[in-house]
């Protein structure tokens, strides 16, 4: 039963995405989109939508996911201004290195989202992840130890991602 729901949600989401991309309700596109949505879902085995991830539609998680968007946009703007400032400065003020940080997040999708968020934001680039440890290339290493680095790089995102992907309620 849950399997069927998962497949149907996947088909509906892919179909909606197709229609949004073609931007018309021309019957030809509607049919083509439907066929492709079904094919992709069958090939992927409904993979994008596991029983767990359907729970992301709970209102509280959705609200936090929406709140995450402006948070990320602001972080991306800061990241860009920061890197731009370093690039145009004649002294090229960088202090690079690879640091290790720890995450509390358990769910693989949550960890992926964390690694991607880190890469998108100020001067940090996820190089590798190994269990609950991430290795981050940092343009301007500020932290002296792993706790400080974790606080600087990870904590802000974790607060959101924890609720979005892992909240048991």
């Amino acid at each position: 039963m849950e399997r069927a729901v998962r497949y149907l949600v996947s088909i509906a989401a892919l179909w909606a995405l197709w229609l949004a991309l073609v931007g018309t309700l021309d019957p030809q596109e509607v049919v083509a989109g439907g066929v492709i949505a079904v094919l992709v879902t069958l090939v992927a085995g409904g993979a994008p939508f596991t029983g767990r991830s359907l729970r992301i539609l709970a209102p509280k998680r959705l609200a936090w996911a929406l709140a995450y968007i402006p948070y990320m946009v602001w972080a991306i703007v800061k990241a860009n201004l920061d890197v731009a400032r370093r690039v145009v400065d004649p002294r090229l003020p960088i202090n690079p290195g690879i640091v290790r940080v720890k995450t509390r997040l358990k769910h693989p999708v949550a960890r992926t989202a964390l690694a991607n968020s880190i890469t998108l934001t100020p001067g940090t680039l996820s190089v590798d992840i190994c269990g609950d440890e991430l290795y981050i290339h940092w343009v301007d290493v500020q932290a002296k130890d792993i706790e400080e680095a974790t606080r600087e790089i990870v904590s802000g995102f974790e607060r959101y991602l924890e609720v979005i992907f892992e909240d048991a309620a």
């Binding site: 949004a20 890197v83 690879i98 680039l125 290339h137």
Partner: protein, 116 residues
């Protein structure tokens, strides 16, 4: 000239400026990893501003352009990560002035060979 075209053009110009800074960063930065920082950061905002600016100039395209922006946001960090990890494991060194490398320590702890 309509207001949306003016604002859109300003955004596209700003986006182009950030893309230029990204390119400048690729030239100026001392090693692959720092170049990638410039190449991935400045270009994210450059892309987003260009896409949103275009959407303002041609409102009918807005939905499509926002979806493209979403794809950029989801795929850009993954390719950056894959490149950085691949480069490190292939032995591309950090620049001389790097202050720390806890990744090498961890790899050596796990007994993995790292070419240098």
């Amino acid at each position: 000239m309509a207001v949306n075209v003016v604002i859109g053009s300003v955004l596209v110009a700003l986006g182009a400026a950030f893309l230029f800074l990204g390119a400048l960063g690729i030239v100026r930065m001392p090693d692959l990893y720092n170049r990638m920082q410039a190449g991935t950061k400045a270009t994210t905002l450059g892309n987003l501003l260009t896409l949103v600016g275009l959407g303002l100039i041609e409102p009918a395209w807005m939905l499509k352009l926002l979806l493209i922006a979403l794809f950029v946001l989801m795929t850009n960090p993954i390719s950056s990560h894959a490149l950085a990890r691949g480069a490190y494991r292939a032995g591309v060194p950090l620049t001389e002035g790097s202050v720390r490398d806890e990744y090498r320590e961890a790899l050596e702890e796990h007994g993995e060979e790292v070419p240098s």
